[in-house]
Amino acid sequence: MAEPAVAAGLGAARPRGSWVSAFARQRELSLVAIMVVLGALVSIAAPQFLTFSNITAVAVLASIYAIASVGEALVVITRNIDLSVEATIGVVAYCVASVLERHVFDAPAAIALGIGIGLVLGMANGVIVTLLRVPSIVATLGTLSIFRGLDYVIAGSHQVPLAGLPPGFTDPARTNLFGVLPVFVLVALGVVVLGTIILRSTRFGRQVYAVGSNPEAAAILGIPARLVEFAAFSVCGLLAGVAGVMWVMFFGTINGTAGTGIVLSIVAAVVVGGVSTLGGSGTIAGAALGALFLGFTANALPLVGLSQFWLQAIYGLVILVAVSVDAIILRRLQRATAERRAR
């Protein structure tokens, strides 16, 4: 905090809100803290929760969600939403599995193909939103339906079995680097670190926030808002492609329904991670942590004696709580500003 200003003592007027708002403003830290506390509580009831094998198992699956959530977060920061990511993951997963099964491509080429398909589908979303001016909620609700349909058309009733994949293809999902760091977690960390650097330290990154934060002011500054949004959708698709490839490695057996229904978890991770659905604020690290948080929640449920059926309800509650907390903080901040003026 700054000291009182020389001239009139108002320059340092940062609201020194309660610990609640200070805590909540640092969403990444608070998520980590909540996870530690809840993890400790759960491990009292179920000691196996905090074992190395359990934690890595959770983190590996959560990495896939985290990568998709990072892309989603990027789109949400620009004041849009992408509901089609789960279908993109599904299409990519099936296509990758299928070309491998039929020996059309070798593994590296299949991976590149998968990521490429993701990118193309993301760009399609971007075109519909920015060029055809369809609101993103409608556009991606539509492409969710279209991409999923494509997935069915391509897959039919066929299922690629684990045996259909080249030997070793699914190993990355089960390999720990130096015996401790799962490859998937490393990939997710890489995406988060790279994404954070881009968002924090490049002109494009700051434009993403500017467009979402105040589109009018961004226009005055001459920021190409539509190009930025298009890029966000494209990157989101690309990351969904990465997640789709990882999906194949993780599950091994793939049919046309891969990824059905997971968009809810992805959006939940983004919201829980502190990315405002009104755009302009939040970090991709937060979104990734949100995915990790939801992953641990899913894992902890059976350990504390709740059936998996509670998961959806808890996700729903978590979304409602997260957005309510954001709204309350915002309102407090505004009231604090008004009251400071009154003095």
Binding site: V134, I146, Y152, V153, L320
Partner: protein, 334 residues
């Protein structure tokens, strides 16, 4: 503009019927009509309050889960020996309460309905799973399953169609003929002016969500009856179809315009399209491609039609008022 959109829908409907007839001689039979209608009635019923909600500038994504929760509770109660005469009213009350939850958070809390109802989309589905788990309850009495299966005696008109038409009539009158509907439009077009004009904006918004929740649970009851089975996953994915039908019916996603007749026509179009595709042995899953395309086109076409028209108007020397408010000053009489 709206009249034009509805005309377009009528033409599309005629075209689709002709297409269907050319695909299969079976298409134009009464039995087929009865089938094609019955398959879409839950969606059609939920689309009615959704129309009002979107006109008012909000959205309710939670309807499909509310239908599932309704089905689950109904099954749970029936399995526990509670008669349906009590079970159905209970379920409708639960629907109203769920809608109230949505409405309170959105209208009083001032949160975006998109995220809030995304949250309750998960919450209600989760509650359905908690209530019923993975099992299905299917030993419902024939009198109940007749509601979804059966026809009005002596005709081939399915009962759900009767419910849909009644709901469309009532909500059509409410939206287009009563001042409540006028207030809904005013809120969707300019909520601030509406509030300054004494419209109880919060109350109207909450009421709309309550209505939506209640009708969604009614749709859950009908679905349970039609499938003769109560399941927690009932209605999965229906929100997409509901939203598609509403937007295809010419309702503006940003609120302020739309008609019930338009949405009713869109229901028929989608029903006929799905039926025709089925007769052409296109699988249900693949039909979702057509549905998604329709959804996007229903927004793209009016946007570009509007742009084209204003471009034409500009060329003709435009009678549109200038956009700059300052420029609207009237000619000085002096």
């Amino acid at each position: 503009m709206l009249a034009r959109w509805e005309t377009l829908l009528v033409l599309a409907l005629i075209g689709l019927v002709a297409l269907g007839a050319s695909l299969s001689p079976f298409f134009l039979t009464a039995g087929n009509f009865s089938n094609l209608i019955a398959a879409l009635m839950e969606v059609a019923i939920m689309a009615m309050p959704m129309t009002l909600i979107i006109v008012a500038g909000e959205i309710d994504l939670s309807v499909e889960s509310m239908a599932g929760l309704s089905s689950a509770i109904l099954g749970f109660l029936w399995a526990a020996g509670v008669p349906l005469t009590i079970g159905i009213p209970v379920v409708l009350v639960v629907g109203a309460l769920g809608g109230l939850l949505n409405g309170l958070i959105v209208a009083r809390g001032g949160l975006p309905s998109l995220v809030v109802t995304l949250g309750t989309l998960a919450l209600f589905r989760g509650m359905a799973l908690i209530v019923l788990g993975p099992r299905g309850v299917s030993d419902f009495p024939t009198a109940f399953t007749q509601l979804g299966f059966g026809h009005v005696p002596g005709t081939l008109i399915p009962w759900p169609f009767v419910i849909f038409i009644s709901l469309a009539l009532v909500l059509g009158i409410v939206l287009h003929r009563t001042w409540v509907g006028r207030q809904v439009f005013a809120i969707g077009k300019n909520a601030e002016t509406a509030r300054f004009s004494g419209v109880r904006v919060t109350r109207v918004r909450i009421s709309l969500f309550v209505l939506s929740g209640m009708v969604a649970s009614l749709a859950g009851v009908i679905l349970t009856s039609r499938l003769s089975s109560a399941r927690a996953d009932a209605g999965s994915g229906m929100t997409l179809t509901v939203a598609t039908v509403v937007l295809l019916g010419g309702v503006n996603i940003f609120g302020g315009s739309g008609t019930i007749p338009g949405v009713a026509l869109a229901v028929l179009c989608v029903a006929v399209m799905q039926n025709a595709l089925r007769l052409a042995s296109v699988t249900v899953e693949v039909q979702s491609i057509a549905l998604g395309l329709l959804l996007i086109l229903s927004v793209v076409i009016p946007t570009f039609a509007h742009q084209a028209r204003s471009a034409v108007d500009r060329v003709r020397g435009g009678r549109h008022p200038p956009a700059d408010p300052v420029a609207r000053g009237e000619a000085a009489p002096s």
